[in-house]
């Protein structure tokens, strides 16, 4: 069966409409994120990590998302309740890639969990990045809470929550739709579903009857849209518009982005390159080259530079110590300072 036609799909041959500087920046971050994911997979295959999970293939959506987030701590800034495929968003926010390598290796210096959690499980209170959890979709049940605090606080900070399409089968997704749209207190929350059509090895075709997951927002009178998440220009424009709506109206928005999953679910499914899905970076580079924004040589040099940088970082991380056993009991409880 053919895939449904995407709403408002931009013609792939139409010129990119973002200005050059922005396009170059997006491309830079997309390359960096892809190289990071490839390095993490390499670490797994070399035995320098127990498990890999991440977001290669989602860079076209996840980079613009990070670029548009109002970064900072507290309810005047945006909260991000992410899932485990968002290294690109973290890099776009300004995070150093070595942190992800440290989490992969479970070093004491892992800045997100101190050696306690899987790769891709980011957490950074200083930037309002809520801890990523392995139980999927719980972030949808949690996100209304930060949004509620922001509503009370005033200002234009919003809550952003992301998750995969398979997980929208969970009740927490419906909870988020209900809690965000309660007439008693509508919430400033951008609800995102990155739809890659897969739940580990199970295709969505046999599991999800809805034409667009975004259609479910209409039942709650939530403004909703489905976009091509493999197009960074479209992603940037649509995310910007959705965020501006939420910032101004203080009401929810449901955004479904169709994306690719280029290395399968995780290391549990081999982490091998998938050849029959759209590669957003490859497509973007073809358009950048076609329009004369960047040359093939420039793009290749950029990738090579990042590959070298991350290879060096991986060598550094490889020798860093694991957390000491006497840190085992640290942080069971928070204590007054």
């Amino acid at each position: 069966m053919s895939r449904p036609r995407l709403l408002n799909r931009e013609d792939a041959s139409a010129p990119l409409t973002l200005d050059r500087e922005l396009l170059v920046r997006i491309h830079d971050l997309m390359v960096k994120a892809r190289v990071l994911e490839e390095r993490l997979i390499q670490m797994y295959k070399q035995g320098h990590g127990f498990f890999w999970i991440g977001g290669p293939g989602e860079e076209a959506f996840n980079v613009p998302l990070g670029m548009l987030i109002k970064k900072g701590q507290g309810p005047e800034f945006d909260y991000l309740h992410a899932h485990y495929r968002q290294s690109a968003t973290l890099l776009a926010l300004g995070e150093e890639p070595i942190g992800a390598l440290r989490q992969m290796k479970n070093t004491a210096t892992d800045p997100y969990s101190g050696g306690r959690n899987f790769a891709g499980h980011f957490s950074k209170k200083a930037w309002n990045i809520a801890p990523v959890s392995s139980p999927i979709e719980v972030q949808y049940a949690i996100a209304p809470g930060t949004a509620m605090a922001q509503k009370r606080h005033g200002g234009d900070g919003i809550t952003i929550v992301t998750g995969g399409d398979a997980g929208t089968a969970e009740g927490d997704f419906a909870s988020c739709l209900i809690w965000s749209s309660r007439p008693a207190n509508p919430l400033p929350i951008l609800i995102i579903v990155t739809n890659n059509h897969w739940g580990i090895s199970t295709s969505s075709e046999g599991q999800h009857g809805e034409t667009h997951i975004a259609d479910r927002g209409r039942a709650f009178n939530i403004r909703s849209k489905t976009i091509n998440g493999n197009d960074p220009a479209e992603s940037y424009r649509e995310l910007k518009e959705a965020m501006e709506y939420v910032r101004k109206e203080r009401k929810p928005f449901l955004l479904e982005a169709r994306v690719s999953r280029l290395y399968g679910h995780s290391s549990a499914s081999g982490a091998n390159f998938v050849t029959n899905e759209v590669d957003c970076l490859k497509e973007f580079e073809a358009r950048l080259e076609g329009e004369g924004t960047l040359t093939r040589q420039q793009m290749d040099a950029l990738r090579h530079g990042y590959a070298e940088e991350l290879a060096a970082a991986a060598r550094l991380v490889r020798d860093e110590p694991l957390p000491s056993v006497d840190t085992l009991w640290n942080h069971v409880y928070a204590e007054k300072k």
Binding site: V138, G145, A149, S175, H331, V332
Partner: protein, 351 residues
């Protein structure tokens, strides 16, 4: 004196005014009902949530992440079980983020038998709650402690599970809550919503104080040197009554109200057992993998050579539910005669 529901209400009022509590929510927690046990009547920061336990716990976690101090209610503990992974997440957030995030939040939920609640309004939650690391867990047996523990819970930096023994919510206390008026009827006029239409009603709160019962601190409620009884919640007043009865028979039982299940006051328990040599743990959760079994295990491991008799546990029977008929309920969870029988057997136990 105030009853426990009133005590909780007053503590939450104090927390609204002084401790930064801006959200007290759950099903029917806001007006017009103010909670199915009236524990949240008249509070200014109460609101009603959708009928969605996972949404309640999830939103409380999110509010706490944003620096708020939510008090979330699960209307009956029997309906908290579909939130276990969220409770686990709340408990592990500080540890998993290596100390970066903490979640100052309170989850209050009525527990236990005693209101003819049948299969789904009689459940205990102490065994399950004490299996979730990262939480602090408290359960009062009287209004003063309910007030003091709620004050502590609302000041805590970590998630606190506040278990409310529903059989005791209407029972008046024997000790005055600081700031509480002398006359019960006057207090009721001040803070109990009138029957019928109460949309125009506004409470008049007493001038309350920051009386806090520290989490982790138990209390000796009866002195004795021949045996120790450790209990909490609904079964605590029964144990105290049993001890009073036995005292007349010449048997002196020391009764400890644990008040905090985690962290709990092991030092208090240890000193008492070392003195008496005999111990009975009493609660009403089902007896298989019961929290009291942890206490028995620790007693055996750490105090074996001080014991004059095997430590005993009296708990609810391991049944799929508590049957509605009085005969069934009375036979399912510890009652006064059961406690008396267990204590007499312990007192007369000889190797």
């Amino acid at each position: 004196m105030a009853n426990m529901a009133q005590a909780i209400r007053m503590a939450l009022h104090y927390a609204e005014e002084n401790l930064g509590v801006m959200d007290i929510f759950g099903e029917d927690v806001g007006p017009p009902l103010g909670g199915v046990f009236t524990a949240t009547q008249g509070l200014k920061n109460v609101w009603n949530s959708p009928l969605d336990e996972r949404g309640i716990i999830g939103t409380a976690i999110g509010l706490a992440m944003a620096g708020q101090r939510p008090v979330a209610e699960i209307q009956f503990a029997d309906y908290i079980f579909n939130t276990i992974d969220l409770l686990k997440l709340a408990g592990n957030t500080c540890w998993a983020s290596n100390g970066d995030w903490n979640l100052p939040m309170v989850v209050k939920t009525p527990v236990g038998s005693g209101i003819r609640g049948s299969l789904y309004h009689s459940h205990s939650f102490d065994a399950t709650a004490t299996h979730i690391p990262g939480w602090k867990i408290v359960i009062p047996s009287n209004p003063l402690d309910a007030y003091g523990l709620m004050i502590s819970a609302c000041q805590e930096l970590n998630p606190v599970m506040f278990l409310e023994p529903k059989a005791l919510l209407r029972v008046k206390g024997e000790e005055r809550i600081p700031g509480e008026p002398d006359d019960d009827r006057q207090l009721s006029k001040m803070i109990d919503a009138p029957l019928g239409d109460r949309s125009a009603w506004k409470p008049q709160w007493p001038t309350l104080e920051a009386y806090a019962v520290p989490i982790g601190q138990g209390k000796v409620v009866r002195e004795g040197d021949q045996m120790t009884v450790v209990s909490y919640g609904r079964t605590l007043p029964l144990c105290a009554k049993a001890a009073d009865t036995l005292r007349e028979e010449g048997i002196r039982a020391e009764v400890i109200d644990l008040r905090s299940l985690w962290p709990y006051d092991w030092e208090l328990i240890r000193r008492s057992i070392e003195k008496t040599g005999r111990v009975l743990f009493v609660n009403e959760d089902t007896e298989v993998t019961n929290f009291g079994e942890h206490l028995v295990r620790r007693t055996v491991e750490e105090l074996f050579y001080k014991l004059l008799a095997p430590p005993r546990l009296l708990a609810g029977k391991f049944l799929p539910g508590i049957g509605l008929a009085d005969t069934l309920e009375m036979a399912s969870v510890p009652q006064l005669p059961d406690i008396l029988q267990a204590l007499r057997a312990l007192a007369s136990e000889q190797p």
